[in-house]
């Protein structure tokens, strides 16, 4: 039986850990600055003369691609390096509870960072009358992208006690999922096997996220994100189970 209490105890400890170290402040400040610079300058937020957050959401997957592996790299690698994994996994909890707890902590942390982007939302509402339903969909999509990258990064972190390796592996795998639908990638794959190119488009995070930013929440997209997160959390549990003492 999966214990929600244990999961929440692990999540609470982990989340408090972000705020007890400079990790939280550095992450949130860099995230907001990057999003601000990219949206207002590169994204031509004001020049577009449109009351929406399209440029803001357009950059979110790329900023997450860079920053999310930086959160997840410590999740398990740090526990291994400090030896606390031995303490954590000899407490009466299941590995899956520890895995989900850590994931939830990281996900809540990303949610906090997303909530703190509210000035963008206020800006468009002051300057015009945007469709706030579309914006809400975009935020839901952004949270799901963060969840997918977090699940991937956490599983990569379980492979090693070296945080740099955890970061690079996390970034690499997230990158594959981010760019899989890009014409450059699919054209390249389809020269060899067209079937694989269609598959690459299907597993792409970017493609699915675009639906959300257009105000579409489709069941198949929700199922996609749930399966992606579920699969990598499962992989994470297996890795911890089999390599906990390595």
């Amino acid at each position: 039986m999966f214990s929600v209490r244990n999961t929440l105890a692990v999540a609470g400890r982990e989340l408090a850990g972000y705020f007890a170290t400079p990790v939280a402040v550095v992450f949130i400040v860099i995230f907001l600055v990057l999003q601000g610079v990219l949206t207002y300058n590169l994204g031509g937020f004001f020049d577009r003369d449109q009351a929406d957050l399209v440029p803001f959401f357009g950059f979110i997957p790329w900023v997450f691609l860079l920053l999310v592996p930086a959160i997840t790299m410590r999740l398990w690698a740090e526990e291994r390096r400090l030896g606390t994994i031995e303490l954590l996994l000899t407490l009466p909890l299941r590995q899956s509870e520890a895995v989900v707890g850590k994931f939830l902590a990281a996900w809540s942390f990303c949610a906090i960072a997303l909530v703190l982007t509210f000035p963008f939302w206020i800006t468009v509402n002051v300057l015009g009358s945007p469709d706030n339903g579309v914006i809400a969909c975009g935020y839901i999509g952004a949270l799901l992208v963060a969840g997918a990258f977090l699940a991937i990064g956490a599983a990569m972190s379980a492979l090693t006690k070296n945080q740099v390796i955890a970061f690079v592996l996390g970034l690499a795998v997230c990158f594959v999922f981010a760019v899989a639908s890009y014409p450059v990638v699919t054209d390249f794959i389809s020269t060899g096997s067209p079937g694989l190119a269609a598959f690459a488009r299907r597993i792409s995070v970017g493609e699915r996220f675009m639906d959300f930013t257009r105000g579409l929440i489709e069941l198949r997209d929700l199922i996609y994100f749930a399966s992606l997160i579920g699969f990598f959390l499962f992989l994470n549990t297996i890795l911890i189970e089999h390599r906990k003492a390595d």
Binding site: R5, N6, A9, V10, G12, R13, A16, G17, A20, T21, L82, G83, T84, E86, L87, L89, T90, L91, P92, L93, R94, K244, A245
Partner: protein, 246 residues
Amino acid sequence: MVALIEIAGLTKRFGSFTAVNDVSFSVARGEVLGFLGPNGAGKSTTMRMLAGFMVPSAGTARICGHDVQTGGVAARANLGFLPEGAPTYPEMTVESFLRFVGRVRGYRGIELDERVERALALTTLRGVRLQTVETLSKGFKRRVGLAQALLHDPPVLVLDEPTDGLDPNQKHEVRTLIRQMAPEKAIVISTHILEEVDAVCSRAIIIAGGRIIADATPEQLANRLPSGRLEDVFRAITTEPSLAAA
């Protein structure tokens, strides 16, 4: 006497190297077993397998009748474990760390408060409860690890070098604590401080090269050589295994 710890044929191989080779013993309530051996003899590996952290290559370990591999959560609920080096989360305060362990152990509300208070009192940590673990000296960190192992008053205690890094007064306190708890519990402590065996253990097992080479009371062991000193016996049988059978 009821055996709370039962180890049968426990073996751990790393590639072609056998770290622990067919180790069997059981520990009853009221016994304090000193687990001795030179560095690299397999003490910590045996303890990790007993705590369910490392998966044995062969053999079984049971705590209060629960197999640590198949009934892990139940076994670990009855276990207080101090891992080698007493790892703890550096950014947490002593109190928040113990509260986290208490929550995972299923305590809530007033009971959690009482458990944490008791553990702080037993290990004389009340004065540093609000300090983060990283600011503490080595001896204090060791006591935080000990407090975590004692929090739930478990029937089985497995302590890997509990007095390492403590000053003589702290060593004395920890030994007194172990002696006080002894009648109610089955305790295994690993150490290479031989005076500790004389001070607290009712039985000693010497392990070398992954095998048990002696299992007797400290007095019986000491009397194997005319000098009557445990130190001489330890050196003799760990460097000259043929004497072990004497």
